[in-house]
Structure formats: C-alpha cells, structure tokens
C-alpha cells in the first residue's frame, strides 16, 4: 500500500507543477486531470474508497470536462502560448517560490510527526453518517448547487443577449 501511495503522490506533484507552469491551456488541463487521478488513488490507499470514486466522478468527470469545454470555446490559440511565455518570465517567480518554500517546510514539519493511516471506511458508513447526522449539510449543499445553477444561467443569459446585440 505504501508504495502505491508514494508513486501516486509523486505523479501528482509532478503533474501539478507541470499544470501551473505550462503555457498551453489544454496541456495544463490534462495535467490537472492527472492530478485528480493521483488524488483519487491516494484516497484509496488511506481507506476511503467511496471518496476516491466520487473524486473521479465529480472532479475528473464533471469539472475537468467543463474546463475543457470552456477553454475550447475561448479559442485560445498560438498567440496565447506566446503571451504566456512572456508573462511567465523570471522575476515573477521569486516571491512565490519563497512563499512556497516556507509553506512546504511548514507542512512537512507539522505533519512528519503524525504517522499511521489506513482504516477502511466503507460507503455504507459514509451514507449513514451523511443522511443521519449531516442531513442539514446535505440540504445546504443542494441549495448551493441551485444558487450556482442560477448564477451560471444568468451569465449565460447575459452572454446570449450580448451575442444577439452584436448581430
């Protein structure tokens, strides 16, 4: 189990780095999907299979696909790649890398003491917990989804109206 964890962790980190430093948005998105998959496998190794499945379903399946569609619609071409290369030159990285080092060190320092993993928590237990103890949270989540739906719809309306105006 540990081996699987370390491999997927490594893949995830590398992919994440590639994702944020890439110049082509499509490449970045693909890397992002890889990161999601890595996270999913990590979740599996710590004994949360339900979570792992959900991660693939929702993140990699819905969210990443949405991103892909959006980027396709934006039609960012060659010039984007050039522009990105311009913007991502040297001095931009200095402060962020400094902060990153600080945070990384902290995380490592904070969590090296805590070891131990792996107690399996199956979907049944999750389901019971969710609908018994946290039912209110579930309702609120659905409310949030509705709100997001309305918001997205509103923006689409604006866009559509703009398109008709331009014609």
């Amino acid at each position: 189990m540990n081996g699987v964890f370390y491999i997927s962790a490594a893949i995830g980190l590398v992919s994440a780095l590639l994702a944020i430093t890439g110049t082509n948005p499509m490449h970045a998105l693909v890397n992002l999907v890889v990161v999601f998959l890595a996270i999913s496998s990590v979740l599996w190794t710590i004994g949360a299979p339900f979570a792992a499945a959900l991660q693939i379903l929702i993140y990699a399946g819905a969210i990443a696909v949405l991103f892909v569609f959006a980027v396709m619609m934006l039609n960012l071409g060659e010039e984007t790649i050039r522009r990105e290369r311009e913007w991502l030159s040297g001095s931009v990285w200095i402060l962020p890398i400094a902060i990153a080092i600080v945070l990384a060190v902290q995380f490592v320092a904070a969590f090296t003491r805590q070891a131990g993993m792996a107690n399996l928590v199956g979907p049944k237990a999750v389901g019971i917990s969710m609908f018994a103890t946290y039912v209110i949270a579930v309702e609120l989540a659905s409310l949030l989804l509705v709100a997001g739906l309305i918001g997205a719809f509103h923006f689409a309306e604006v866009l559509r109206r703009k398109e008709t105006e331009d014609d």
Partner: protein
Amino acid sequence: MIFAGLLFTIGAIGVIVRRDLVFMLISVELMLSAAGLAIAVGGSKWSQPDGQVFLIMIFVAAATGVAVGISLLLAVYQDRKNVDADELSLMREREPIE
C-alpha cells in the same frame, strides 16, 4: 497530509503567478482538491466517516465555484476579448498627496 499540503502550496503559487484567468481557475481547482484530500485524510485517521462527508461538501462547493467561475470567465472574454487578470482593475492611477 504532506502531499495534500504540498499540492495546496503548488495551487496557491499557481494562483499568484498566472495572469491568465483560465490558469488561475485551474490553480484554484487544484487548491480545492488538495484541501479536500486533507480533510479526507483527517477523517480516515480516526476511522470516522465525517471526513468523507465533508469531502463531498467540498466537491459540491468546488463544482459550484467552477460553474460560476467559467461563466464569469466567458463573460469577461466576451466583453474584452482577452483574459488578462491584470486588466481587470477599475482603479485609477494613484495620485500623490500634497
């Protein structure tokens, strides 16, 4: 946990550094996902399903965020024909005081 933390850091860096809105959104997703992972790990440590429940909540939040974010992105693109985050500032030039 370290993994989650590092992913989170990388996502944060991505948000700061990238000027393109698309990439910023991608980095934000990264951060959210990493945070979710951290929660799930926490829950599993004590063999409680609570962690996973919250992970699902985070999924919900992330999905909503992405939906609205993409809409905004497209609106901005329609309006200005570019996705530069630095252009999205309505503040005037700084005037020095006497």
